[in-house]
């Protein structure tokens, strides 16, 4: 009896120990290394690094991509979640599987596909050339690649909560004479607003941090197609470690901010709170 207790205790201890080791090894140490190196030549140097012209340009380009991608993917996510949860149709499973494609396909592959698609000899290359717009190795291509990588985030957040809520409220709205857009604006959106907001935070975080696909379609043109993660790579390849870590620290800060947002949303969201109370209450 006593032996069993000791065994149970040590078992639990080992589990916690393993978890802690992982946490330290893969999260705390890397984070520490980033900031340690970034500040290794002093605060002045750090400030200089993150306010260099190239860095500022990279930040602006990243924000520009975000400003285009976030609204598009938000609208897409809402439409997609609405369609999947409010209607019955064939191929729903298939659509859900497609929604996971960006998670399962390597970003580099995705980037390469875009390059092949829009290059001069590609499937859509002819059309693009006629219209005289540059897509690959330019801003539009980077936007396309980022959209592809981040499109599931909003929808994935919304689908479970919309499924759980069912359609009764929407049906009640319809019986009261509301048009579809009124139902969307006055009933559906207010009820999913925190999940939507959280989905947008995740989408933004990924959008800012995306490397693989964007790297392939960008062509690495200095001063033109360099985003924050690409800038980190360039500085690293030039053996400017302090600079690289300085810029990388910006990405870390963005990541940490999204985490804080997440906690804040969880606190604010009354439905989430309700779910938690019920989960732990009974």
């Amino acid at each position: 009896m006593k032996l069993k207790k000791i065994f149970m205790f040590s078992f639990r201890f080992i589990l916690v120990f393993i978890a802690l080791c992982f946490l330290v090894l893969f999260l705390v140490i890397p984070l520490f290394v980033v900031f340690y190196n970034a500040f290794s030549k002093g605060i002045g140097m750090y400030w200089g690094n993150i306010t260099r012209e190239e860095t500022i340009e990279a930040i602006f380009l990243t924000l520009k991509i975000l400003i285009v991608v976030l609204p598009l993917n938000t609208i897409f996510g809402i439409a997609c979640a609405w369609y999947i949860t409010k209607y019955k149709f064939r191929g729903k499973k298939l659509l859900l599987t497609f929604l996971d494609l960006p998670f399962t396909v390597s970003p580099v592959v995705a980037g390469t596909v875009f390059v092949l698609l829009f290059s001069v000899n590609g499937l859509l290359g002819g059309i693009v050339e006629k219209m005289n717009i540059q897509i690959i190795f330019a801003f539009p291509g980077m936007v396309l690649a980022t959209i592809f990588i981040t499109f599931p985030f909003v929808a994935r957040e919304l689908i479970p909560i919309m499924e759980e809520q069912g359609q009764e409220m929407e049906e009640a709205g319809r019986m009261l004479g509301a048009r579809t857009w009124q139902i969307l604006l006055k009933i559906t959106l207010p009820n999913i607003r925190w999940a939507l907001f959280y989905g947008m935070v995740l989408c933004s975080a990924r959008c800012v941090g995306e490397f693989g696909a964007v790297s392939v379609v960008s062509g690495h043109i200095r001063g033109k197609t360099i985003t924050i993660p690409l800038e980190v790579e360039i500085l690293y390849n030039e053996y400017n470690l302090v600079g690289a870590f300085g810029v990388a620290s910006l990405l870390c800060i963005i990541g940490l901010i999204s985490l804080i947002f997440r906690k804040w949303i969880e606190k604010r969201d009354p439905q989430n709170l309700y779910r938690q109370i019920h989960r732990y209450g009974d």
Partner: protein
């Protein structure tokens, strides 16, 4: 507005939820749709509302076929089984919703909306809760908010799906009398779904009794209660005793049958139509043993068993119970004061 359903059927996959149903509801009538769980009541209500499309048949409102019309244009107020209140809106905003979403030309002004909503809230006696959220209300209060919300658009038809379904027995009784009174005041054509026969018989002008997607009987509460057309209706509207008796050639019914005489006849008897006597007589020929006595309630409920081991149920008055000095395991003799028989009842 009158409602007419003609040959309405609805399948879910291969399952027939509503099977060729036709009936009509007069203007200003309060009609109850009564039936056991899964008999298709909600589906019929949703078809009338337009939330569900019938596979065949048509729905006609005031002479106009609306089968292809959008639910918004039918002028129907719908009270959902689980309220379906907008949980992100206050009680006031819930009730105001139907007015606020009207096209600008038809939309009342803000002071008008306020007045109408508050009038409705005082009608359902909830004006003091106007600024609460649905989560902060009790079940009965939510139910009344749902009703006020449906009434706000001044519907010409009101559909209520088990409006008192999830309330306790006392609140239920209170609310259904209140609904009857409300209906007598505003006279809107109403259909309400219930699986509680007492509720249906007490509140409605007419009752439609459903079973497995089909209509068993339509009639006033008195008609369906006193002249049920099928064994199902008889059984569904109250407790029943079934006797396998025999009918003699002179029309007389014998309960302790001699197998060689007459034809077999199934006799249905309500528990309050059974008399109990301590001695055998022409009027009390059926011997039975008392199994259980329950005196709590307006009538004394007595469970018995006949000689073949069939369970029987009798309701007698408390006075009679005291007079007879009935006790458990006592041998008594039962008589039938009145009974029901049905022609051709294949599967009963």
């Amino acid at each position: 507005m009158s409602i007419e359903l003609i040959d309405v059927s609805k399948k879910f996959g291969t399952f027939v939820a509503v099977d060729n149903v036709s009936f009509s509801i007069n203007r200003g009538e309060l009609l109850a749709l009564l039936g056991p769980s899964g008999s298709g009541k909600t589906t019929i209500l949703r078809i009338i509302a337009g939330l569900e499309k019938a596979d065949t048949g048509s729905v006609i409102l005031e002479g106009r076929d609306v089968s292809r019309e959008d639910p918004r244009d039918r002028g129907i107020g719908f009270v959902f089984q689980h309220y379906a209140l907008f949980r992100h809106m206050t009680v006031f905003e819930n009730v105001a919703f139907g007015l606020r979403v009207k096209p600008r030309k038809l939309r009342p002004s803000e002071p008008e909306i306020k007045k109408r909503v508050m009038d409705l809230l005082s009608l359902v006696q909830l004006d003091f809760l106007a600024h609460h959220y649905p989560m902060q209300l009790s079940g009965g209060q939510r139910q009344r908010v749902a009703l006020a919300r449906a009434l706000a658009i001044q519907p010409s038809i009101l559909l209520l799906d088990e409006p008192f379904g999830s309330l306790d027995a006392r609140v239920r009784k209170e609310l259904r009398r209140w609904l009857r009174k409300l209906h007598d005041e505003i006279h809107v054509t109403s259909v309400f779904v219930t699986h509680d026969q007492e509720e249906a018989l007490e509140v409605s002008d007419r009752v439609v009794i459903m079973n497995q997607g089909k209509i068993e009987q339509i009639g006033t509460p008195e008609e369906v209660y006193f002249s049920p057309q099928t064994p199902f209706v008889f059984q569904f509207l109250g407790d029943v005793n079934l006797f396998h008796a025999r009918e003699l050639s002179n029309g007389e019914i014998v309960f302790i049958p001699d197998e060689s005489k007459g034809v077999e006849k199934k006799i249905f008897v309500r528990p309050n139509q059974i008399s109990i006597s301590l001695t055998h007589s022409r009027n009390n020929p059926i011997p039975a043993t008392i199994q259980y006595i329950n005196t709590a309630g307006p009538m004394v409920k007595i469970e018995l068993m006949d000689k073949k081991g069939n369970p029987l149920l009798a309701f007698i008055s408390i006075d009679e119970y005291h007079e007879l000095h009935l006790k458990k395991n006592m041998e008594v003799f039962l008589g039938v004061k009145s009974h029901h028989t049905f022609e051709n009842i294949p599967n009963f």
